[in-house]
Symmetry: C5
Subunit: 351 residues, 5 copies
């Protein structure tokens, strides 16, 4: 888990926004959309001050900020839209767990977007949403494409998005993130299936490490998804004018999807622990296999060697040694011993 160091914040007064994460030098990108059923406006802002006039503009306004390492910009937006200092602090402190906080004038929603990095590890990115009366402000750690579908729907007036308010827009953004989880789940599914096959065919010592890596990743996934359930549930139950009735049905839908994601995560956990069982049992089976080979060899040859030992003794008076057929008789006796042993092992099903 890429747990970011938090101790650098120790001692600062609460409400002090400190960016936690890998410092980035990219420019912060601010885009604004304003629309109602008839009108539509989209533009990229050069200065953060330009978003001020949208505060009380009619229609729904969506301000999207890609990049939160520039704490100054986030603070300014906070000031323009009367955000509580704690909200500003939480936006840039990307260690939050998914949550919703009701600040009367607006809802502050924190979500986690998940994707695979170049090393095929699961990493998360914090997405913060501010849902106001007629606006939504979204903050992402870096430029992403998960909201592109929503943008496209607004531009092309597909679906109901333009006829409904800011709450529906917030829902649409949350839905886009949850939809994205399904892609992650399918990736996991493939990994697990691949591992399951390998486990049966060619378990190596490395397999255990892979299983545990997968287990940790599923744990990481779970940590991002579990609180989401509560977040959406409390959005539904919240008695606020911010959420209108038609949107409630849609929230219930995204809640359902969350439950599906959680269920699948739980199923993954079960699969993985099943794989652990199979792995451990296959290791102990292998020990068994090795033991069997040793035992068969030893059990067959030790008695034979004993017989040769007897006739290797140097006693003066050993009548068998002088028999004409002593040697072949001994060889035949040995052959009989071997056959009896093999019959015994067959009966024990050791072959």
């Amino acid at each position: 888990m890429p747990a970011k160091r938090r101790t650098q914040k120790t001692g600062l007064p609460p409400g002090t926004p400190v960016y936690i994460g890998k410092e980035r030098t990219k420019k912060v990108k601010i885009t604004v959309m304003n629309y109602d059923e008839k009108n539509f406006l989209e533009k990229e802002l050069n200065k953060v001050e330009e978003c001020l006039p949208f505060k009380n503009k009619s229609g729904v306004t969506w301000i999207n900020i890609d990049g939160i390492h520039n704490v100054g910009i986030v603070e300014k937006i906070g000031k323009f839209f009367d955000l509580h200092p704690l909200t500003v602090e939480d936006i840039v402190n990307t260690n939050q767990r998914p949550k919703i906080e009701d600040f009367n004038d607006y809802d502050f929603i924190v979500l986690k977007m998940l994707y695979m990095n170049s090393k095929k590890n699961l990493v998360d990115e914090q997405v913060s949403l501010i849902l106001g009366k007629n606006f939504v402000i979204s903050f992402q750690e870096k430029e992403g494409d998960v909201f592109d579908y929503v943008r496209e729907r607004i531009r092309s007036s597909k679906g109901k998005i333009k006829s409904l308010g800011a709450d529906y827009l917030a829902y649409a953004l949350m839905d886009a993130i949850v939809d994205n989880y399904f892609a992650i789940l399918e990736r996991f599914e493939d990994s697990i299936e691949g591992l399951q096959e390998r486990l049966v065919k060619t378990p190596t010592r490395n397999t255990l490490q892979v299983i545990h890596h997968l287990k940790r990743e599923v744990g990481f996934l779970k940590k991002a998804v579990w609180p989401l359930r509560e977040v959406i549930a409390s959005l539904e139950k919240q008695e606020t004018p911010l959420i209108t009735k038609p949107t409630l049905f849609y929230l219930r839908d995204v809640y359902d999807h969350t439950i599906q994601v959680i269920d699948t995560t739980e199923a993954f956990k079960d699969s993985i622990s099943g794989m652990l069982d199979i792995y451990l049992s296959s290791v102990s089976n292998k020990t068994n296999q090795i033991m069997k080979v040793l035992t068969i060899i030893a059990t067959i040859f030790i008695p034979l060697t004993f017989i040769t030992g007897i006739y290797g003794m140097n006693f003066k008076y050993m009548p068998e040694l002088t028999w004409r057929y002593g040697y072949p008789i001994v060889l035949i006796i040995m052959a009989i011993v071997v056959i009896l042993m093999i019959v015994y092992f067959k009966k024990k099903k050791w072959f």
Copy 2:
């Protein structure tokens, strides 16, 4: 688990119905029944538009649709009966978990029908029910026979079904599905009992795979059944004019059956984990068995071989070698050693 790919939906606006599942080319079959205590009408529709006049017809109307791959038909029915777009979407997206959603004018209920496919794997099929004031619409993925008993009861006026309303019909359909679970449970019971016997008699390496397969199947079953409990409980508690009082007793009955199914599923889980224990313990018992054989053989013959080694040495001055009875004496000593060993093993209960 036949988890169907969901990512093909990514980016579409919510409420867009997309059929997820194996494309089927069969014709969709729509049948209608309309009845009250005196009248009864049953027919198969050629065009979906023919169901429109049944919307406000007196008596109870049951429309059954077999096949939901033709999304257009489902959408039309949705339009005729004022279904919410999300309902239509969920009907054709067969990835839902069992749930109930209250859309004021109607209840939308999703259930999972379970059956064994030709490979003896458990598969599920989604059944969606729309319970309106005087109608029930049921959607199945393909033609099935689980509702035949209900049809028969309506046709022959058996039981109370004709004297009660649409809510009782919905109950009857749910009851038919839950009843079907008991057949699945009995199949599982047979599998588990068979496995238990094999486990004691002839455990093979394959047994572990079978146990884990069974475990996964029970997990799959559980996933279909657990949410059902909540579904029916919330149907009972829902304060809606759609559910009349006499039906409540029946809902409580089907709730009871669900609990029974869940209890049995839990018992299966316990049995399976018990089998795992026994399997693992039998493997380690086998290692023990093999160790014993090795140890007995080695412990008996190694000292004997040592004795032969002594008298195989070529020292010039070894008085025993020239004794008249040296050889038989040594043989007797060896016999004594063997007897002592066997007594020791007997005492240790190794035979």
Copy 3:
């Protein structure tokens, strides 16, 4: 678990009573008691119709039916006392879990009586109670003696039973059943203690099977007892004129006993899983023991045999062979090796 086949019911309308269980040809026995503080009447009925006059008779009436395989009789009683069809169905379908259902005019209570069958397996029998305003009807699968103490108390006017109403009678019957559980618990206690002793002294491979059998039995017990807790709790909380205040104290008492039974069951579960641990550990201890013997023997004799091997070689020029005391010197060297080995093993605490 003697899970009775339920599929024979599939497709029948709800409320159709079908007897599930081993068909019995014994005659059904119906006995009636009617009493108040002054009067007392007891008789065995020949025909089920004879119980009709007791419906509205003053005082408390207790009708006990031994044998429910004659579905017709149960249905008639259902009709006489206005029982819901679902109640009648549940009485004869002995697959119910313990439950209470409030049908306004009466409470329907299902309990499980437990006893050991001739093979020393735990089996259950379903007891159904109908608690009406002034009557109690009890249904048993076969003639039993668990209610004899209650009968005796009524006959002899012992305790408060005659001065209180039908609710107290229902309580007394439930109490008799719960009291009976304690006998079962004591039997289990003896089994567990016996097993524990055997486990330490002479664990055999069979022991594991016995432990798992016991575990399943305790699971079976738990399944019968757990729901009982809820049943009695909801009886207490139910706001119904059927239960009078003085009886509430007694219900609390039987609730207490149920908790005691559950606690003991949980303690059994812990004991059994502890025994599993000890068994598994004793198996691996045994492997250890065997390994030690093998290692001691091999470690002592393999080096010795090597020494004999050296002096068994046929080199022409081996000065030791011609020494006068070569043989005794080698024997002494071997003895020293043995002593060193034994000292080493002593230090390692292998003896």
Copy 4:
């Protein structure tokens, strides 16, 4: 667990007091204290009837009964103070779990006192408290000293006890019992620490038995303490004139102590299961150790013995045998083999 046989009660009407426990012949000891802020009276009663005048005496009266095997005495007290028959039954039936029962006129509280018996096993004794408006009656199985501190405080007017009512006295008695648990906990702590040390230094086969014994004892402790939490919580929440407001703070305090006891018990459970892990792992480590010794010995000497075997063969034409330095060369070769082996084992870190 010293589970006392309960079946001797089967069939008796509820409310019949039957003493369960080891019959004792000691005399029952009844002591009475009556006090208010100014007055104080203490005496030992010869006859149970002497406590009657205290029923309505002003001030707080505390009647303590040591010994409940004389059921008649308990019944008389029950009659004098209008106790419900079920209360009397529960006082002498020492199988109760800790509980509180509200009988309107009085609260009936059952607690478990714990102490170590002479065999160092944990045993419990039932203490029952009756909290009336102005009196407390306490029943103990035998004379104990746990309440002596409370007595002393009353006699010497230490603390607030004399200025507060009967509810405070009941609290003080409960507090004395909970305080006593801490002594038990410290004993356990010592046992666990001792065991932990022994586990690391000299684990024997017996250790497992000791761990499981400790586990059972902790389970026993837990069973006595867990319900206590609920008991005190419901005392706090109970809306009754029996409990006055100032006492509530004190009840919260004893509740806190109970939680502390429970927490410590849970910590013990974790420690013990950790010890089990370490024990099992140390056993398998030992097997490893033994295996290593065997493998090292066998791996070194088996090849050497093979070499001696070669030159022990009796072929006529074996040139090496006649070499002048054949014997020392073979010895040197053997030495090299041994050195190579040792290097290999060192590399594998087997030494």
Copy 5:
């Protein structure tokens, strides 16, 4: 866990403050701060009586006491500020779990500060807060620096602290403690990561002890943090004039941090149990490795030794012994046996 002995308190009346912990001879240090938006006063008191005038002084007063072994001083403060005797008792009895108690006039909050001692073990220190209408009193076991940041903020008027009331000050102190937990968590993270690496590279027998030590430490951490969640939640929900609305947002923030700490603790627990799995599996892998070496050696040489045994026999009539090329033929046969063995092991992937 440094569980302090509590039994020394047995028998004392409740409300008797007894210092539990290591007796310290350091002087108790009392500092006072009084501030409002305009004024600021800070001084160290020589005598406890000097804090009396601050009781009703306008503005917010913060009294901090470092050292609670001087019970007399704590008692005096208790008297000055009308604290309940139980509060005073709990302040000096450092065995409390984190809790909040509402005493109407003030809230009593107990927290645990965690730090690593010189032996790198986690130890806790009890911090008690009294939140009154216009004052906060904090008690620490010894002088610490965790509150220095808060002091600094007051002195320098940074943040909102001076414009808000005593409740915000209490929040700030709690926040300082929770912030401190993150430092502990990061230490643990480093330990766990280090251990994980060592586990894969060089697991030793000691590793298990370290894992278990870490597990206990995490358990200790959890015990300090879990109750905190409840403490803050009930502070939020408490309907009291002591907490003003603006502070509620901040309490929610510290609640959030607590959840983060708990989540991380849970993740640690999972990591540790995963490490246990890997450790155990690596031990059994090692056994496997050892077994393989033994088996390979034994399997190769035992048959060879047998062959040498045959030609070491002393039969008079063994034709092979007199063959001209008998010896080299036998050597070639042995070489073939070795090659076959190696091929077999290669196929089995033992190398």
